[in-house]
Point group: C2
Amino acid sequence: MERIKPRTLSGFAELLPEQQLQFQAVMATLEQVYRQYGFYPLDTPVLEYAEVLLAKGGGETEKQIYRFSKGDTDLAMRFDLTVPLAKYVALYYPQLHFPFRRYQIGKVYRGERAQRGRFREFYQADIDIIGDGALDILNEAEIPSIIYRTFQTLGLNRFKIRINNRKLLSGFFQLLGAAGQAGDMMRIIDKLDKIGLSAVQKELGELGLAPAAIHELCAFISCKGETAVILQALQRYRGKNELFDTGLQELTTVAEAIAAFGVPEENFGIDLTIARGLDYYTGTVYETTLLDHPEIGSICSGGRYDNLAGYYTDRQLPGVGISIGLTRLFYILNEKNYIDSSSVPSNVDVLLLPMEGAMHEAISLSTQMRDAGLRVQIHYEKKKFKAKMAYADRLQIPYVAILGEDEIAAQAVGLKNMATGEQQTLPYLQAIAYLQKAVKAATGKKIISDPIS
Amino acid sequence: MERIKPRTLSGFAELLPEQQLQFQAVMATLEQVYRQYGFYPLDTPVLEYAEVLLAKGGGETEKQIYRFSKGDTDLAMRFDLTVPLAKYVALYYPQLHFPFRRYQIGKVYRGERAQRGRFREFYQADIDIIGDGALDILNEAEIPSIIYRTFQTLGLNRFKIRINNRKLLSGFFQLLGAAGQAGDMMRIIDKLDKIGLSAVQKELGELGLAPAAIHELCAFISCKGETAVILQALQRYRGKNELFDTGLQELTTVAEAIAAFGVPEENFGIDLTIARGLDYYTGTVYETTLLDHPEIGSICSGGRYDNLAGYYTDRQLPGVGISIGLTRLFYILNEKNYIDSSSVPSNVDVLLLPMEGAMHEAISLSTQMRDAGLRVQIHYEKKKFKAKMAYADRLQIPYVAILGEDEIAAQAVGLKNMATGEQQTLPYLQAIAYLQKAVKAATGKKIISDPIS
């Protein structure tokens, strides 16, 4: 037979079983936390009408999209989960109840140039809260508290959620008399961390900004420190521009509520350089960085927008949301040794090894064990005992249960702890209780440990 | 702004939030059961090299496939989960441990003619056990016991897993001296349920089969009844054909082990008409039907195969597996009123309604509640009290917690049971304990109830 070389497309993640278990555990944690805040699961198609997905038009994104025809239908694979959400809310508006909270963890597709740590098929994990006509500012404060609980629950501690407010920024640019250049200015100040203050000054100069305005803007973005300090420093601009004042009020409300949510100061701060693109966000914006790896950039970003679905409907649907690039985050966490491989319980709690003539008894015992909630695999194959033990070892199965004639006569099973080598013979019911206890002790560990830097 | 009409491709399922919750609950049950038998989760890309996916070549399937080029790469969307499994096992063979057990619940794509209850994007839920060179027959008995536990756990009782053995069938055709027409004969007898015995006889005649052979074959497939009865009846063909004898031995072993697994006779039986295509399966084959809706056909099918990945590798990788067409099954269960909508707990356990001035206290209470594992939503919006209660009602949230000045003074919360209308004021910690108990009582219900027919 002519053989085809088995291979996977470059940029398309495919994990080995043990890694996949870890990835599933991360996804399960995200789901669990999102659901604690009342978000509904959503699952939209991977394929949509190209016209619908590209309603917004799309420059860079459009070039990367997987788009093709089947019959006379022009199709595209989704490149994010926001556009499908907009379509969904516009389409099912009469059947939805607002505020509508949804999470979606799903694959998206971007035909980017393949490179290390960049993916063409990757999971995004999004949450959004959509209002009908209006959406209270406090939703903007809840979002960072969800990010906080998510990462805490995963086991990540050394991260910082940084927020800013787009009205504050835009109002400030108006104050400088440079509202027309807001886009360019945001793009430049966004780079502060990467290129430093003097390079930012230079670029602002090239933009044709007056030296006084540059000076004022640099003073503004250099305003750093604790939340209370920044909010205090911003007072001096107050009363000069309405949009700025609204932004400052929003930022203050959000910062106070975030504290009420119990997010500690070390995991949260105002950062006046955060802008997050131009045309979409209208209020609070978020970025999240790993304290020990700022070079990675934001691992969880989003913000408030006033009009989710303007391309599909004339209803005003304001919202706020964040997105985690999950495949990339998982790749980074692995590469930087954040994943605690001992934290994810083995896929099997106990491997049953029936000796000659004990098969039907083993089958019946396995059913009893599963009824008790245990995850059980019977080794059916004709292999040497040693090979079966090696299999348990390689799969990191914590217990092996041996069942032979003697054990059956005693209605007991030989239970071997694979980590310690200890072995004991326990009656069926006691063995089950013992294993249940062991399983319980092994679960609930956090997946991530901040590595010692 | 010019608006695009929001719409979803025909044949692409998209559920409303309440239905999506049900679908998630079904998927979670499948995962839980599969993991109880030691299956690892697997997640392969939706897109693959067309050459890899179509290695087997493929008639009908090839016409339905979503295939396109990007740059100079010929791509295809997966049309099942078996071919990606074959690729995966061939590609990662050195890093896998055999027997390798994996489940995959994922979307697949087939551009079929769109019609009611048929989908172009749909979930399949597959489990397979792959051996390296050999795989014990008992794995073939375990598979139906997994199907049984899966449906039982979902709450489905009135179903029957029907099994047959391909060696038995092929051996019998050899006995009839009609081995060359095995394919056509299988295709015809597969239709017995639909077209009846006399139509089967007619079609077999048109095939040119001798009347004596037709008579013998019809006697064979008419052999129905309890497992022991059928196995007894099959004894009379024994000793005449080696392949038949092997098949009969396998069928007997599998049937006995299935009983040892605790699958009751009413949910399981031998059906000699089941053939399941020609070129792939080599041992036990399975189909599963709803007793009250046989017209739907099989809802869970599969079988034993001797060579999973022959198109990619010269290693012999025998296996056994089954697949559930999950999107279609969910559609049918809904249509036939099998889904018990009261079984899936509300997405939110408690809706917190803070009165004027109580917002920060409500936020702090919500954090306490989530720390206790509750799913909590705060209603932040500026709406009338009545509108907020109506929101809780429409989302079927079982409890509303009201927090105002008086409650805060007493460090208590007004808890309203939305089903009974009962209201009581409880101190924070007591309210949390009360809600935890209520949540526990509402969970663990089975999703499916067999409708009264």
